[in-house]
């Protein structure tokens, strides 16, 4: 196997690591935003309850 071929494998492996890490961070970000939305909803409801 030639050296350029081996470089292809090297960069594929590191690419896979960064893609997996990025997917995990996106997943964390989505859950965080869902949590923020739920908090806003709760704040709105508690505010609404108080005004009643």
């Amino acid at each position: 196997m030639t050296q350029p071929d081996r470089f292809w494998f090297l960069f594929s492996a590191y690419g896979a690591i960064w893609v997996l890490l990025a997917l995990f961070l996106v997943h964390l970000g989505r859950r965080h935003r869902a949590l923020e939305r739920a908090l806003d909803e709760l704040r709105r409801r508690v505010g609404g309850d108080r005004s009643r």
């Binding site: 494998f9 594929s12 890490l21 949590l35 739920a38």
Partner: protein, 245 residues
């Protein structure tokens, strides 16, 4: 001041910055500092991230087993959340190991995959903790499911020492990467050891930061759910991130 309050400022501010700088240093070591390995050439550089991803996965599953044992003993939900966060992050790193391993194996062994004892045991480890995550996703707040999952996390970690000794015990294709008898591989150059240690620091700090973020998110979800229950009790309806109707 609680332990969480003491950890939070460091974990939220110092840790991500440190992990980022350490990862840049690790990449510089791997691509600019270490020499090519004599037999494998440039592709051997996969080793530094592959091995440390495995270390982080084992650390995660070990931490999950320990936290699960404390959870079963003290029935404190904090340890259950820690176990769940550690498994999720451990699974990320275990997936990295299973992706980079075949990419490294192809040019060196001539095959993407072989049912070598270490590889097979790693797939079993991944499957055990995948079942753990499925169980948690299906069980939601069921305390019985949380206890079953804790037992699974403790049983699953028994596979880790088997993976570590499998190379010597069953003599598969997978090399003993850190130390090996003279002339049979291992790392020979001092610069390779430096790169391995820098990458270890980078992966460990990244692992700790990810576990912290996930742990905090799980804690907030639980607190939010409890608050919503309180609001419901006062006469309303609520949902946590659309998870409940």
């Amino acid at each position: 001041m609680t332990i969480r309050a003491r950890i939070a400022p460091v974990a939220d501010t110092v840790l991500p910055g440190f992990a980022f700088v350490a990862m840049l240093a690790a990449l510089a070591c791997v691509f600019l500092y270490v020499p090519n390995e004599r037999m494998q050439g440039a592709v051997q550089r996969i080793f530094y991230f592959h091995v440390n991803a495995a270390w982080s996965a084992f650390f995660g599953f070990g931490l999950a087993a320990l936290a699960s044992a404390v959870f079963l003993w003290r029935t404190d939900a904090t340890y259950d959340r820690l176990a769940r966060a550690a498994v999720e992050v451990g699974m990320l790193f275990c997936t990295m190991v299973l992706c980079t391993g075949p990419i490294w194996a192809r040019p060196i062994w001539g095959t993407w995959w072989t049912w070598d004892p270490r590889l097979t045991m790693t797939v079993i480890l991944w499957t055990i903790y995948a079942v753990y995550l499925v169980l948690r996703a299906m069980g939601e707040d069921d305390p019985q499911i949380a206890r079953y999952a804790a037992v699974l996390a403790i049983v699953g970690v028994l596979d880790v020492p088997l993976i570590m000794v499998s190379v010597r015990l069953w003599r598969g294709m997978h090399p003993s990467v850190i130390s090996a008898p003279a002339g049979q591989g291992g790392i020979q150059d001092a610069r390779m050891i430096v790169a391995l240690v820098v990458t270890l620091v980078a992966f460990t700090s990244l692992f700790l930061w990810l576990v912290w973020r996930r742990f905090e998110a799980l804690r907030l979800e639980d607190e939010l759910r409890a608050l919503e229950d309180d609001v419901d009790a006062l006469g309303g309806r609520a949902t946590v991130g659309g998870a409940t109707p």
